[in-house]
Symmetry: C2
Subunit: 331 residues, 2 copies
């Protein structure tokens, strides 16, 4: 098994009110760089603060790292457009950060990114791949891609109040500026990525395509951004089995319609409940209140813990241990 | 335990007859990029041939990967001046390849590289670090650093016939072009690196300093290039205990005087014999004939296998398995 997580950025996140991943652009762009360090080392190396939402919800990177500790596994990080230097080792995709999707071509090199991702997915010599992401603003670009492909599904939010109206407005503006109707890119996923997506979606859809073509099994670890990856793969004509592993926070979000998306895109949906309601700790209670919900491969990591029969009480204990260690030593 | 390997390049390797790491500059620069992929994945990803010496000796990356398979450990790669893109995830040191040491300043950013390495060594949260390298031409730059520091020791070669006269001539020319006598940089290791070294030595000496300052244990995994790293660390005033783990091929090389270097630099020397003479396989017999000798952390990997009580027959079996798999599927 190989756990690959793509980290990147999109200027779309700078639109007021879009993302919880940081209060200001500086803090926001810092989030994926810090997430890469936390998942790699369980500590910060070059970055200087553990990403925490305005209401105090810590990054899901802590949850993924805690579970990988219990499984003794090591994830690989992909630089799919980081805007801030990370101390984690990253596979270089030679891409710039994504632009604001209201600009003409937010991902001008989308085709090359899909190609590079595909090559990686074909050549990584593991039978099973798990794919995750960290990109602030990523649910808005995911919505842009879904609408451009003609898919009707909604997206979740890392905020407890989903600014879904704002996201739809931004996506409508993105479609309009290219004279695209919804569904204009239904037979051209690269067009959807180039005009309405982000570099993380481009790289991950490429990896997924390459891995499926090489007869590997792929688990998409995440929420609605991974639904967008699945949609890109299906619209590219790939019909091989595909699993999406996510959290109850996404699965129970009425904005998402996850079951319908799973059916339409032929996804096997796996939801793993970490039982955060049973522990009272600052690291967990904001999740229970509906913040963060997913990200940095959290749903996939939970699925791997369940597969390995690790009790969720042990998972929660290790999350608290990692949280206390990075919040004490890392911030 | 954290196994960190720095990969880089120096134009010094292009001097005719210096390195066995490739017949032409193109092939040579490809070697560390491929080594990083082999140690990370046990397979090639973006590069297209397993590095093999002109006489058919495969890269020690295969040996290190085989042992890490048996130990179920994952190494981290550092880009300390790669000249060819690698598909391995790398920690970015934002350095260019090193220049020819006969030019005025082959490593103009030596001070920053030592500083970045130091930060990494301080912050990586593991109690034990193992450090390795892959840089064609690296024994010549190591000799340059040793002479600039005023250390008298010789260096080994990846060729069975060590072109030691040529290396000494190149190093004399390097010293002369800066008006340096031997020992001119004895109290200024950054000067030795900037004028006579390479970016890999700069980064590794920085990591070693940072880790020792943070009370970590460090094992230098390699031969005479790691002697140069130790010399840089000692000349920077750091006297903490330090282990150098290498192969019998280096330890028994009369050009090297390893025991004397160990005594002068206060190194605990550990030599682990992989018993390659007991197996007859193309992947091992060129080592027995004196080629390659070390590199890509091989001596350290062997020491870790011995510490874990893995029989060398099992190590040899896994080396042959990895070799057959990459030579069949990767080349």
């Amino acid at each position: 098994m190989r756990f690959l997580i793509a980290y990147g950025s999109t200027a779309t996140a700078e639109i007021d009110g879009i993302s919880a991943a940081g209060a200001t652009p500086g803090v926001m762009y810092h989030t994926p760089a810090a997430d890469a360090e936390l998942t790699t080392y369980g500590a910060l190396i070059r970055t200087h603060a553990v990403p925490v939402s305005p209401a105090g919800c810590p990054t899901p990177a802590i949850i993924t790292r805690a579970i990988l500790n219990l499984l003794d596994r090591h994830p690989l990080a992909i630089d799919a457009g980081l805007n801030v230097a990370t101390g984690a080792p990253t596979i270089d995709m030679t891409t710039s950060p994504g632009g604001d999707i209201r600009e003409p071509e937010p991902v001008p090199r989308a085709e090359q990114l899909v190609g590079q991702g595909r090559e990686l997915g074909e050549r990584v010599p593991d039978a099973d791949l798990v794919l995750g992401e960290s990109i602030p603003g990523g649910t808005t670009t995911a919505l842009g891609v879904l609408r451009a492909l003609g898919e009707p599904f909604g997206v979740s939010s890392s905020l407890s109040e989903n600014p879904i109206g704002l996201k739809e407005t931004v996506v409508q503006e993105s479609l309009r500026k290219n004279d695209h109707e919804a569904g204009a890119a239904a037979s051209n996923p690269v067009l959807a990525l180039r005009c309405h997506g982000d570099p993380v979606l481009a790289v991950l859809s490429g990896i997924c395509l390459g891995a499926l073509e090489a007869d590997r099994s792929v688990m998409l670890a995440g929420g609605t951004q991974m639904v967008a990856v699945a949609a890109l793969v299906r619209h590219a004509g790939e019909s091989a089995p595909l699993t999406l592993a996510t959290t109850p926070f996404v699965a129970e979000d009425p904005a998402v319609e996850l079951a319908a998306a799973g059916e339409a895109l032929n996804l096997s949906i796996r939801v793993t409940d970490p039982g955060f309601g049973e522990a009272s700790h600052v690291a967990l209670e904001r999740y229970q209140a509906g913040e963060a919900k997913e990200g940095v491969g959290m749903g996939g990591a939970l699925a791997l813990a369940a597969e390995a029969d690790i009790p969720m009480s042990r998972v929660r204990g290790e999350i608290i241990r990692v949280y206390d260690s990075v919040v004490t030593h890392g911030a």
